[in-house]
């Protein structure tokens, strides 16, 4: 008996040690961003390994807003991400529902084509999209990239929503129908609230795809005043050395909302992402 207890004790202690080690590995690069953002401009190149530098300053953060159009980029990004999130949720929640509940011509083909889109290399769509947007005069406009971002996470989100709806018993809709709700009302009032874990994941992924995207935005938004946060961020990094501190501060401001969102939703992440596939 004591032998078994000893074994458990050793196992649990070893588990904690390994978990803490991995937590440190997960945290360290993030702490690096903080370190860089707090360094004064004359000490950007430093060979110290302290997380909080000795002469820490918030100067980089104030400089972003007073000396750079960072506030403007923040507003641009917020606007784009907000529209994309709403569009993504609306499109994925409805399409996923139809795929889950009804059989119709082209259903299998539709689902399969969603899967195939995941295999397109990003560059394959970027080049024709770029040429199309030039022809439609949508360079330096948000309309083009907002539609594009809405589509980025869409196939994955539709699959994910469908998988989640599949776990909700159809008897709920039948009950709703008997109570006199029409199809849209049963969807909107009964099923949608039950699918909120999956909706949250869809919203999160749509938001992330817009908030953090750099490669497409860099080709399409060429006017500095139109820039979104990632382009601004990269421009600080390119002048490495001289603007490394600004880069750190900007990174913190871009990262914090995403991390807060992500972590506060991480409880839902497990159920939202896997419930569908467990059943599938």
């Amino acid at each position: 008996m004591t032998d078994a207890k000893k074994k458990t004790y050793i196992r649990v202690t070893a588990t904690y040690l390994v978990l803490v080690l991995f937590c440190l590995i997960a945290l360290y690069p993030v702490s690096q961003i903080l370190t860089v953002s707090l360094r004064p401009a004359d000490r950007l190149m430093s060979t110290s390994l302290e997380i909080i530098p000795k002469d820490a300053t918030l100067r980089n953060y104030t400089a972003l807003f007073t000396e750079r159009p960072f506030g403007l980029w923040l507003m641009n990004s917020t606007f784009v991400a907000f529209v994309v999130t709403l569009t993504g949720v609306a499109l994925a929640s409805t399409a996923g529902y139809a795929f889950s509940r009804f059989s119709f011509v082209g259903k299998k083909l539709g689902l399969l084509s969603l899967l195939v889109t995941q295999m397109f290399p990003a560059t394959m769509l970027l080049l024709p999209m770029y040429i199309m947007l030039v022809k439609l005069h949508l360079i330096n406009s948000y309309l083009g990239i907002m539609i594009m971002y809405s589509a980025t996470a869409l196939p994955f989100c539709v699959w994910q929503m469908k998988g989640y709806y599949d776990t909700i018993p159809t008897s709920l809709e039948e009950a709703g129908r008997i109570d006199g709700c029409n199809r849209f009302q049963t969807f909107y009032k009964i099923i949608l609230p039950l699918a909120s874990p999956a909706l949250v994941i869809t919203a999160l992924f749509s938001f992330m795809s817009a908030w953090t995207e750099y490669v497409v935005a860099a080709q399409i938004l060429q006017d500095t005043r139109m820039w979104t946060l990632p382009i601004g961020l990269k421009s600080f990094e390119s002048n490495m050395g001289s603007e490394w501190g600004l880069y750190g501060a900007a990174s913190m401001i871009v990262t914090i909302p995403v991390v807060v969102l992500f972590l506060s939703l991480s409880k839902w992440l497990v159920s939202g992402l896997t419930l569908g596939s467990v059943k599938g």
Binding site: T15, A26, T94, A98, M132, I147, L154, V215, V258
Partner: protein, 300 residues
């Protein structure tokens, strides 16, 4: 009755159509357009007066004498994908197993911290690691020299070291996804199975092999398929950590190779053809992998 059926049809149409309209505009139409470009001689000097050249661009993809050529980059992409996936799945499942033990306290805190690499935007992950790999001021070399007394490594100067640096970055950001998926799968395994196995005196290894792995497999296989495609196609990390393929274009995956051809050298026709080749590679892989493992069976 027919009225009912018509209503259902209209309902389905209005629910599916918006999503597919967007996808047709943004994904399927550009896809067709890309095929057309890949069969043309379109480039910066032939942006308006382009014409069809048949499969000449495809022939170029496979035969062009360049350094690196298609086969070098393809091989590198395969190594990249396999190494990343092995680390993602092994670390992810391992951490999920650790977290899933009933004696462990503070699971939510551990999970929250371990998910962090996934939460940080890839652009920032890439640029931050690039800074960490800096020879003189990067914290990795500082740790190696100050803590372990090892010589500093020229991370971003030679091809092999750069490739290792890029893989380390991507392993770091990719394991949380697999961990979360595995955690969800593990939580759905009924505890009685393990109790029954304990009663039969099964060893830890036997339980892993005969209960855990078979039961998380149906969830892990689609995740691994998706992970493979995403990793194969990941442009951000390679492009940003190696700063567009440095040193001297030695650090490329197929996707970054296309990006460079299309947007730095304006070889649109060639880039489009190479994109098609990448797509076919992934299509063939996914179809065989999913047929072998019967991953999506029952998902329709």
């Amino acid at each position: 009755m027919t009225n009912q059926r018509l209503k259902t049809k209209a309902f389905v149409f209005f629910f599916v159509a918006p999503a597919f309209l967007v996808l047709i505009g943004v994904v399927f139409y550009p896809f067709i357009f890309n095929i057309i470009i890949s069969l043309s001689n379109m480039s910066l000097s032939h942006i308006r007066d382009w014409h069809f050249v048949g499969f000449r661009q495809y022939v170029k993809v496979f035969t062009e004498e360049s350094k690196p050529n298609f086969y070098d980059v393809f091989l590198k992409t395969i190594i990249w994908t396999v190494v990343n996936l092995i680390f993602h799945v092994v670390i992810g499942v391992f951490l999920a197993l650790l977290l899933n033990q009933k004696e462990i306290r503070g699971k939510a805190i551990f999970r929250t911290i371990l998910v962090l690499p996934w939460a940080v935007p890839q652009l920032i992950v890439a640029l931050t690691w690039r800074g960490m790999f800096n020879y003189e001021y990067g914290s990795i070399n500082l740790m190696l020299t100050q803590w372990f007394g090892l010589p500093a490594v020229q991370w971003l100067k030679s091809p092999v070291e750069t490739f290792i640096a890029v893989i380390i970055t991507n392993v770091w950001l990719g394991f949380p996804f697999m961990m979360i998926i595995a955690l969800g799968a593990l939580q759905s395994i009924p505890h009685e199975l393990y109790e029954a196995a304990d009663m039969d005196g099964a060893s830890w290894f036997h339980k892993l092999k005969n209960i855990t792995i078979p039961l998380i497999r149906p969830v892990m296989v689609p995740a691994i398929t998706l992970g493979t495609i995403w990793t194969f196609n990941n442009l951000n990390i390679v492009w940003l950590v190696s700063n567009a393929g440095e040193p001297s274009d030695q650090t490329h995956l197929l996707v970054s190779f296309v990006y460079k051809a299309a947007f730095n050298f304006y070889r649109y026709g060639y880039g489009a053809a190479l994109s098609m080749v990448i797509f076919f590679i992934l299509l063939v892989f996914s179809l065989t992998f999913m047929r072998r493992t019967k991953a999506t069976e029952g998902a329709y």
